[in-house]
Symmetry: C2
Amino acid sequence: MKSSLPAGQLEELLCIDCAVRRSGICAALDPDELQELDRLGRHVHFQSRATVFAQEELATSFYNLIEGVLRLYKLLPDGRRQIVGFALPGDFLGMAVSARHGFSADAIGPVVVCQFARASFSQFIADKPHLLRRINAFAARELNLAQEHMVLLGRRTAEERVASFLIGWRDRLARLKGPAQTVALPMSRQDIADFLGLTIETVSRTFTRLERDEVIEIMPGRITFLKAARAEALAAV
Amino acid sequence: MKSSLPAGQLEELLCIDCAVRRSGICAALDPDELQELDRLGRHVHFQSRATVFAQEELATSFYNLIEGVLRLYKLLPDGRRQIVGFALPGDFLGMAVSARHGFSADAIGPVVVCQFARASFSQFIADKPHLLRRINAFAARELNLAQEHMVLLGRRTAEERVASFLIGWRDRLARLKGPAQTVALPMSRQDIADFLGLTIETVSRTFTRLERDEVIEIMPGRITFLKAARAEALAAV
DNA sequence: CGTAAAATTGATATTTCTCAATGAGAGTGG
DNA sequence: CCACTCTCATTGAGAAATATCAATTTTACG
């Protein structure tokens, strides 16, 4: 955490000290490789609502999310929005299928990312099978999440969607910060609606219903599970 | 296509002669590696409706789809089904996130797959960066498709879903067999409904409406585009 | 042909959306 | 410190899209 770098570069910590060193893709690297990586990446801060990259923009970088939350979304030409996921520290972004990004990413609250130029990072990973395998595992996990979400969007009721979302979010935060009954929800109701394929009104009504049934308690920016088992049952069915 | 192998092994063609040699992940391999791979994989035939692997089953193999169509789906405990995709020749399956399959795969019509034992294939790819990169690219493409599908499921109307599906399916078949206005639909209306997050009745009514509007012509097991541009517009919005 | 499965069509029900109004929290300037 | 304002969230009433239930028709297959 301490740094001997001159002022103005304080955030340019070394990979070896990185907060997501053990959870991100970099966990696959040995000390020598981490040192090499130090020269390729740089930390970039974004304030709330800032855009890290946008759909259709040329994908010139890869990103490791170090701190904060990103919403990842696709827009239809008429403005309809589908949030395809929320990124948390340790997540790796930028695996575009073409030269352009398939979705936009913007900050929900302050964010720090580790940015890598596409060309040099591609070169860095090109002959590192252990790192390629880890990136593969990350992609497989993402794909699995996406498929779970398709089931939610295609076949679940509003109440099941909301319960699934809350339980899934709780579990992701638990992996980062340890388990807790109270769960921070930094994203807006509109974000939740656009993630779950619902309207903001339906999300709000469903929250209220879950609170009336004493499954959760609603507080500004967070909720508490009162009957976690009931919520889990709704999420699982 | 010709084979000098004894009867009973007629389908055990060599990788070098494989129908999906240029489109599948194996396109990343050189002749020596293909020869090595010959010893690891074996062709397996499935008849229509047969299950190649099932959700929650131990993932003991990887598969290259050689011929035919698979439906890939997840089931909820109460029987609701979401088809997460249709696999076509050249697709690679079996990248499970855990030890178990995240979805089921079964044959729509006769199917041939090239099956690899998980352990030996994992070993085969472990130190082949070019193959790992290709598998990565396949995963990224899958993820991209999944995200597109999330938009469809979360934010599109029934008519847009059906038009998107027909156009998307046409384009995938075009890549395999060349462009055509008439498109084979080997899957049932129920399969289409479970892919699009609709009921069979809504799919049927939407097909009928598209036919009444002279956008498509419906025939048993296939459709023809009469106004492809109109369908594309519905799919794109 | 005859039968079973798949697809279509119709009538009605239900969920979720849309439109509109109200309420609550956070930041700002007097 | 308090009104003011802006954004976000909640609530209500009615509309719309899609689901459900129930025939009927078409297609596939022995």
